[in-house]
Amino acid sequence: MDVLERIKEQVESHPVVLYMKGTPQLPQCGFSSRAAEALGACGEEFAYVNVLSDPEVFENLPRFADWPTFPQLYINGELIGGCDITLELYQSGDLQKMVKEAMAGRKTSED
């Protein structure tokens, strides 16, 4: 499968997915670490892709949504932003709502 199709499938099959350097348990970059921490604090499980262990995604994700840096947060298939925007949304309380709604949407559609 083409890498852009693979990314599209990842962001569409997971309501919340974070592309990051490293893992939430062992982040390899301060920005990825802070984004994963804010997302984890929303109290829902989220999917992640370690771009350091997937060179093809690392190379191509920036052109997928025309966003040059990592981490990148996607909710319901849409780019939300990088670390700064994720933290701003968390501090305003919006991220928690967006994540909860996205996860609730998935649960409903599976019932």
């Binding site: 970059c29 301060g30 939300i80 670390c83 700064d84 925007i85």
Partner: protein, 86 residues
Amino acid sequence: MNDRVEQIRARLSAALSPVSLEIEDDSHLHAGHAGARGGGGHFTVHIVSAAFEGKPPLARHRLVFDALGDMMQKEIHALSIKASTP
């Protein structure tokens, strides 16, 4: 004088006519970590511009990335952006 900071300043000034622009070079804080391979720098930009009026954060960040152009692939490894309006 830091060339990369001056280059960032020149591009953002030209594209967004900011009323205030502060650029910090945070590269020294991150030197050598696994995510920083490739040698690009870490920077924080505080920018106040009327160009951000009515735009959500995602669109504001895109304006900054667009203004920096190919610097995002080479000179800049990570960029923290605080974008606000006058």
